[in-house]
């Protein structure tokens, strides 16, 4: 170790910088090599997911003809959209309450919101299973939606609240001084201002819902299957390039959503 005398930024010429660059490159390789292998073998011409025999798109055709996959996708969409709509409304109201008011019991409310985000999923899953059975609910799409709303509300609340805390309240006060009712003020001033936060919360809720396996696994019953449940049973049944094809499609949609979403949000921030 020597005491440095030169300028701080010297590019990537020095040894620790090179080591850092190498390590970062290896971590990206670690993150993407498995995905690359997965995608490559979705185009394999044989049933093998390990030995390359030639190029083919037959597994995509098989995927599109698999009615149970399409049904599972439909269920996931219905659950995701419904649960997101409900939890976005409830979560936004809760965020307004927690950031705009000081009240007795606030610490309890705060703790409950955070507890719901750190509770292990398996505990939430089995406790809901026990509850639904004890209360006589038939397990199915409805119980999945109820469960998804329960575990996504807190995330919406936290995201919207972060947006509210950075907001200038003088605009709302101005609107009220000019004679707007509280409802008008909310709809025409507050809501447009927090909309990016609400959208971000909704996007997070939808992703969590669409991707959830553990909680859904316990509350779905036998009849209804979401996409993650379907993927799980496919893997359990045996590896097949059809799973690779499905994974590739999901990955592609994810990449488009992330890059598209980040563009939209960044434009909003600039405005």
């Amino acid at each position: 170790m020597t005491v440095k005398t030169g300028p701080v930024h010297k590019g990537v010429s020095r040894l620790p910088d090179r080591a850092l660059l190498l390590l970062a490159a290896l971590v990206y390789l670690f993150l993407y090599a498995p995905i690359a292998v997965l995608i490559a073998f979705s185009f394999n011409s044989s049933r093998s997911t390990q030995v390359w025999t030639g190029f083919s798109t037959q597994w995509y055709g098989e995927l599109l003809r698999d009615q149970s996959v399409l049904d599972a996708f439909e269920t996931s969409m219905i659950v995701g959209v419904t649960a997101t709509a409900i939890s976005t409304v409830i979560g936004t109201l809760a965020a307004l309450a927690l950031s705009r008011h000081r009240f007795r019991g606030q610490t309890v409310a705060d703790s409950a919101i955070y507890a719901a985000t750190v509770m292990p999923e398996i505990v939430v899953g089995v406790s809901l299973l026990v509850f639904f059975v004890a209360a006589g609910f038939a397990l199915g799409v409805t119980t999945i939606i109820i469960a998804h709303v329960a575990f996504t509300i807190s995330f919406v609340t936290i995201v919207v609240r972060a947006r509210l805390s950075g907001m200038d309240r003088s605009l709302e006060e101005a609107a009220q001084d000019l004679g707007a009712t509280p409802v008008e003020t909310f709809l025409r001033v507050t809501l447009p201002l927090i909309l990016p936060g609400v959208m971000a919360g909704a996007l997070l809720a939808f992703t969590l819902s669409f991707d959830d396996f553990v909680i859904t696994f316990f509350v779905s019953g036998v009849g209804s299957s979401t996409l993650p449940l379907k993927i799980y049973s496919m893997i359990k049944f045996g590896v097949s390039p059809v799973i690779n094809a499905l994974s590739t499609v999901i990955l592609l949609v994810t990449v488009v959503l992330i890059f598209g979403g980040s563009k939209i949000f960044m434009r909003k921030e600039d405005a």
Partner: protein, 287 residues
């Protein structure tokens, strides 16, 4: 604080009513229910009799089950440390050396993060099994002649978890380091600190909120995991999560399953509170 209303009002009650209803009925009540069940007695055919029966908790200390619980927490702990060891340099690299590529580089970490957990686990099932990429690479490098038995081992589970949870560590670290004022590093430098000293005495302490948030985000799902051990660990590497699943869906011993769930939740939340108190008093703000 300015602009905040004090005390209870009809408006406040209306805003809080939906969340109280939903989280009360579908989060708090179910948790209280398994707490009650954990002291109950399971019938032979799956029914349950409520009461005050501590035997479900005593059963946890049966060496057979204790081994599984200890294994869960040890592997989850190792996974958290590995995620930190790989994730910290990566986040540091993106923030301080990423330059114009910063946004693209962090989005590249987010892609696997947003992808289905099952797909990530499946990728490793394929890579680690029989003639998969892992064995081919080992044979190519001359480390082994015969394909090794890689899948269904604790190492396979650890690999799958490291792969799945690494982004959970990188994102909060990135957020913490991004806020870092580079002038602090320059100041430390001007005052004669070398790179090593600057890092350990300036950069790392300031990034502590990210370290804490990342560790919690990795440790909780790791210790509660049951999918990855199920797909990559087989019957050899059972986690507490698998044990709980089996009690509810196979053995039908809901009382013991409830006791295990309560214990897992208490141990995890306790560990987190202890960790925050110990390392990060007051440092969690602004994450």
């Amino acid at each position: 604080m300015e602009g905040q209303r004090s005390g209870w009002s009809l408006r406040l009650a209306a805003l809080l009513a939906p969340v109280t209803f939903w989280l009360g009925l579908f989060f708090v009540v179910p948790l209280l229910l398994i707490l009650a069940y954990s002291f109950g007695t399971s019938g032979v055919y799956g029914g349950i009799t409520l009461g005050f029966n501590p035997s479900n908790y005593l059963k946890v200390f049966d060496p057979l089950y204790l081994e599984i619980i200890v294994r869960t927490f040890v592997i989850a702990g190792i996974n958290t440390l590995l995620c930190l060891a790989l994730g910290y340099p990566l986040a540091y690299f993106i923030v301080f050396k990423g330059g114009g590529w910063r946004t693209a580089l962090i989005l590249m970490v987010m892609v696997p993060f947003w992808t289905s957990l099952l797909i990530r686990a499946y990728a490793w099932v394929v890579i680690l099994s029989g003639n998969g990429l892992a064995n081919k690479t080992l044979q190519f490098l001359g480390i082994t002649d015969e394909p090794l038995n890689l899948i269904f081992t604790p190492q396979a589970v650890l690999m799958g978890m490291l792969y799945s949870y690494l982004p959970f560590m990188v994102l909060p670290l990135y957020a913490a380091l991004e806020k870092f004022d580079v002038r602090l590093k320059e100041a430390a430098n001007d005052l004669g600190a070398n790179r090593w000293q600057t890092f350990w005495r300036v950069t790392f302490p300031i990034s502590m909120p990210g370290v804490i948030a990342g560790s919690i985000l990795v440790f909780i799902p790791s210790a509660g995991e049951f999918v990855i051990p199920d797909l990559l660990g087989g019957s050899q590497t059972v986690f507490t999560g698998n044990l709980i699943r089996n009690q509810f869906l196979q053995a039908r011993d809901w009382a013991f399953g409830s006791a295990l769930s309560v214990m897992l939740a208490v141990l995890l939340l306790g560990a987190i509170l202890f960790y925050i108190r110990k390392v990060g008093t007051g440092k969690l703000e602004g994450v």
